[in-house]
């Protein structure tokens, strides 16, 4: 049990415009709580907009920087957190990616493309993951686009998994995935071009 409770060291990733540093759920909840009242941020993730700080904090696991990471995203030269990238890894080398960009000023500016590339490189390269997956509600078109642009394949659909918080009926959940060798091939193709 000791092995599984041991914490890893903090991790820092850097991209052209951003710095990503691992953080803890208390700080995440504190920084992201103001975003929880915004339906355009919360509904695409399948969350409602009525939260207490305590309940919101409890939606996050304890991040151990070994198998569960949450990176705070800050623009270079700024202390302001604009969002979070998460990796949750199991014992089989599978990891699930999650992202939340709460600062609307960074929407539509390639933020997720840039930060997720660093996270994917870290997951495949440093953590040695074999497979990454992302779960996206069918109505979350921007997130679908982000997975597609990074070469993720649609694996299938969980039918009518969630209530539609922005309208009627229920929504399907789309499963995207990417294998380590697919990402490597994509990176080599990019380098060659």
């Amino acid at each position: 049990m000791k092995l599984f409770s041991r914490k890893g060291k903090p991790v820092r990733l850097e991209t052209e415009r951003f710095v990503l540093t691992t953080t803890n759920r208390r700080d995440i909840a504190r920084h992201s709580f103001p975003w929880t009242t915004d339906p355009e941020i919360m509904h695409p993730m399948g969350y409602g907009t009525k939260w207490t700080m305590r309940k919101w904090r409890r939606t996050y696991p304890r991040f151990n920087n070994r198998t569960r990471f949450c990176f705070a995203i800050r623009p270079k030269g700024s202390d302001t957190v604009i969002g979070y990238e998460r990796i949750t890894m199991d014992g089989h080398g599978n990891a699930i990616l999650t992202v939340m960009i709460g600062d609307r000023g960074w929407w539509g500016k390639g933020t997720v493309q840039e930060t997720r590339r660093a996270v994917i490189d870290f997951a495949f390269g440093t953590l040695g993951c074999a497979r990454l997956a992302g779960y996206v509600l069918e109505s979350n078109y921007p997130s679908i686009a982000n997975y597609q642009m990074l070469g993720f394949q649609c694996e299938g659909v969980n039918r009518k998994l969630r209530r539609n918080l922005s309208g009627k009926g229920r929504l399907d959940m789309i499963i995207f995935s990417q294998l380590a060798e697919e990402w490597q091939a994509l990176r080599e193709k990019e380098r060659a071009s």
Partner: protein, 78 residues
Amino acid sequence: MTAIERACSLVAAALDLGPEEVLADGTIGAVRGWDSLGHVKVLIAVEGALGRSLKAQETATIRSVGDIATLLGEPPAP
């Protein structure tokens, strides 16, 4: 007008581009403005052209002009 020509003009109109800026081999991320937010406009335009909402599986597999042409070329559902 062929399905591929319709798909090109649909993407161009959705992204407010000139017709010459969207070619038959255009893909998400490669066509100017076809990014995560541009994709919302493209998918809404596809739904408008089809006259129905996209199914999740369709939404997940549209990543090029060719994919849109395939959808537009399908006969309407009975």
